[in-house]
Symmetry: C2
Subunit: 99 residues, 2 copies
Amino acid sequence: MILEIADFRIQPGQQAAFEAALRIGIATALSRSPGFISARVQHGVESPERYVLLVEWQTLEDHMQGFRDGPLFAVWRGHIGSFFAGPPSVEHFQAVPLA
Amino acid sequence: MILEIADFRIQPGQQAAFEAALRIGIATALSRSPGFISARVQHGVESPERYVLLVEWQTLEDHMQGFRDGPLFAVWRGHIGSFFAGPPSVEHFQAVPLA
């Protein structure tokens, strides 16, 4: 399993519309891509234009080849892309065992 | 509930020692602070010197006043601070309901 962390900055005052677009994009595109496990969206307290999307995928390839190079990515970005104030930062992570 | 997202860059080649220090710091300091709920640590795939710490707190004050202004913070930073390649980025987030 791999965790995608995507860091978005949106245009001021668009929070409610962006959150609605995220819900639609997750339901209609992101969550339908093979290898998708779960998604959480977090909204910034100190930076109200900042959102962090945490997506669990089965593999890195499920995200990068399956989703980003596949047909659902244009649907996803079609919903949320117009809100961005700049290019999102997206990287992948592996859990560090703590026990 | 509030999510702290802390973004660390460490010095190259120190991953194993940093992860050991994190485990000790979480067990002996972070997790003992009032209002602490859970911690996860994520290690960067594209950026192997990058770690993201996700900490759930009951309230923002539990983190900022209770922990950061309290006696356990020096213990925590004593374990992990020497590994940092720069100042960590720390902000707080609230979950956006998706359903």
